[in-house]
């Protein structure tokens, strides 16, 4: 397991480095002079030149990349344009809110999706199976911002059960959790459908496997066969799917944070784009990338922990 983790971690470092290279190329290829953008139309040529030197834009491109690369690995993402505060600090302030949102979304999708999919597979062909099938497609088809707006209208505006906007009182965990319910539902609801379908499909496959027949031939109780023998194998593809799906959840988080006026990295990037705060955009996207790679890594480690065959392959 240790060897597996180390190798998988090395792979993650390579992926993040490549992402940095792509991100840097993107910024470099965007037409226009970042210094001019930062200083606005009324700056003089001398001021622009000074800022260019300060930003290192006079250096050859590979030196620029190397500086960006080494600084980024040490946590220095430059300073943002508006307040001149370090980008890393600004992003880190917002990161916990987004992490909480993603965690909430995953909780919804796992807590509802796995039991529903499992139930549908065990009751294959029955009415519950068909209802789960229809509901899955329905929630997958509805975009997260539509879920967000309707959840807001129904539960916050009409029924007044839950708060409409914000992230809750700082330091008050209960209040923050209450504020998390609707946004995380908006992020996670579509994934309930994906996971239910995925779990159903892989459960059906596993239940046909020879070792399940063996388990039945040993007279094991049906519950033990379903949960200990079949589900533990059937959730493996789901964990991998979730790892990849976190990318999509991160983009849903942008909508959820805007609709519910929550702080978070998505809202931060959205505001930064509107104010053309490029260092902040770059920094926030890079942090999001690292987050994605890290969560993927965790998903893979979970698969490794659950499946001895994966562990031994590395």
């Amino acid at each position: 397991m240790l060897m597996y983790s180390v190798k998988r971690l090395g792979l993650a470092v390579i992926i993040v480095s490549l992402a940095m290279l792509m991100l840097f190329s993107m910024i470099y290829l965007i037409p226009g002079d970042p210094a001019a953008v930062a200083l606005g139309p009324r700056a003089t040529e001398a001021m622009r030149e000074a800022l260019r030197i300060k930003m290192g834009l006079d250096q050859p491109v590979w030196v620029q990349f190397w500086n960006f690369f080494t600084n980024a690995w040490t946590g220095d993402l430059g300073n943002e344009v508006l307040s001149d505060r370090p980008v890393a600090e600004v992003v880190m302030e917002q990161l916990p809110y987004t992490l909480a949102l993603i965690a909430g979304g995953i909780s919804w999708s796992v807590a509802l999706g796995i039991p529903l999919g499992c139930w549908a597979a065990v009751k294959r062909g029955s009415m519950p199976d068909r209802i789960v099938g229809i509901l899955s497609v329905a929630v997958i088809a509805v975009p997260s911002f539509v879920v967000a707006i309707y959840a807001l209208l129904i539960f916050a505006v009409t029924l007044r059960w839950l708060p409409a906007i914000g992230a809750g009182e700082p330091g008050d965990l209960g209040d923050q959790l209450v504020h998390l319910i609707l946004p995380s539902l908006a992020v996670g609801l579509g994934w309930v459908g994906y996971i239910a379908r995925m779990v159903r499909a892989s459960m059906l496959e596993v239940l046909e496997a020879q070792h399940i027949r063996t388990a039945r031939a040993f007279g094991l109780p049906e519950n033990m066969i379903t949960y200990r023998y079949a589900l533990t194998i059937a959730i493996l593809p789901t964990v991998t799917l979730l790892g990849v799906g976190i990318g999509q959840m991160l983009s849903s988080a942008v909508f959820a944070e805007i609709v519910f006026a929550r702080p978070g990295v998505g809202k931060l990037v959205y505001d930064a784009i509107l104010t053309r705060n490029y260092p902040l955009v770059t920094g926030a996207v890079l942090v999001t990338t690292v987050l994605f790679v890290l969560l993927n890594l965790i998903a893979d480690l979970i698969v490794g922990a659950l499946d001895p065959r994966v562990r031994s392959r590395f």
């Binding site: 496997a209 020879q210 070792h211 027949r213 063996t214 388990a215 039945r216 031939a217 040993f218 007279g219 094991l220 109780p221 033990m224 200990r228 023998y229 533990t232 194998i233 659950l306 499946d307 001895p308 065959r309 031994s312």
Partner: protein, 320 residues
């Protein structure tokens, strides 16, 4: 004393192309402490027979007639929970494919623990019993092998582990469904010797299914020859192998590569194919491939007792 008595068993599957009668009037016995071999080509109903005994027929299959008497209990009338209590305790099974027969994400020890869930033993006692069983099937270093996962063992070891699991509760009947087919020749011999050994120690009966005639002849006391869902002939191994009476048994034995006296590039085969079981012929099931066919073969042949315990389902059995 017989452990298992199957009488006139019929199994039908409903398929899209109509009802498929997979077993027709199957009868045979497994006496105490004896090894009974079932031999027949692929698709002759061996697996259906096992599933019917175990109560694990697919959802579209049903037993329509006949009885399966196991230790005095009528299995066809047994409730699902009662049937489950028998499986793994009184009737155990070793399947063909050792690669897929064990759960890949649970350690061998955990799986052996689960099989003993009815035993009422403490966890430590169960584990000690598991280690003993692993030692009995000659798994090296059983104390450590216990904690390992199926993919860490070779095919032959996995099959031995499967045998250990099957015999752990000291069943009255062990069903071995082609347990050596997936193994190479040397392992096959070793596994069969092991099975023979353990059968002696535990004193159980064995229903041994194989299409390998040599293995059947070597291992079994009695033989049941199946063809297209029917028992065409049964008797002691000596009777069936030395004086087969059903034309199918005769032809099947002629086709055994081990029986070829001369070097040949052309092994004998039985011309024709198994009939479509959805349109099972009214008469003898083997008639369309039989070279001794007469007009009377269009009627269902009786089970003819041709010797002491030897029975053949052929009107010509006496004459052959």
């Amino acid at each position: 004393m017989t452990v298992l008595t199957i009488k006139d068993l019929n199994v039908t599957f409903s398929t899209e192309g109509g009802d498929l009668r997979a077993l027709r009037d199957v009868s045979f016995e497994v006496p105490e402490r004896r090894i009974v071999g079932i031999v027949g080509e692929s698709g002759c109903g061996k697996s259906t027979l096992i599933n019917a005994i175990l109560g694990l027929l697919a959802d579209n299959g049903r037993i329509d007639g006949g009885s399966i008497l196991f230790e005095g209990q009528e299995l066809t009338a047994l409730s699902a929970p009662k049937m489950r209590d028998l499986r793994g305790q009184r009737i155990s099974t070793v399947f063909q494919d050792p690669m897929g027969a064990l759960n890949p994400v649970l350690s061998v020890g955990r799986q052996m623990q689960n099989i003993q869930y009815r035993s009422g033993l403490s966890r430590a006692e169960k584990d000690a019993r598991s280690v003993d069983m692993l030692r009995l099937v000659r798994i090296p270093d059983p104390e450590h092998a216990w904690a390992r996962y199926p993919h860490e063992f070779s095919g032959g070891m996995k099959q031995r582990i499967a045998i250990a699991m099957a015999l752990m509760m000291e069943p009255a009947l062990l069903i071995a469904d082609e347990p050596t087919t997936a193994l190479d020749a040397t392992l096959e011999v070793a596994t069969i010797e092991l099975l023979q050994d353990l059968q002696q120690q535990i004193g159980c009966s064995v229903l041994f299914i194989s299409h390998h005639l040599g293995v059947i002849a070597e291992l079994c006391d009695d033989v049941v020859v199946m063809y297209a869902g029917e028992v065409v002939e049964r008797g002691t191994t000596r009777q069936v192998f030395n004086t087969p009476r059903h034309p199918y048994s005769i032809r099947l034995l002629e086709c055994d590569p081990a029986r070829q006296a001369e070097r040949t590039r052309n092994l004998p085969t039985i011309p024709g194919e198994i009939p479509d079981l959805r349109r099972r012929p009214q008469g003898c099931i083997f008639a369309n491939r039989c070279d001794r066919k007469v007009a009377a073969c269009d009627e269902l042949p009786p089970d003819v007792a041709v010797g002491d315990g030897q029975v053949a389902r052929c009107i010509l059995a006496e004459a052959v």
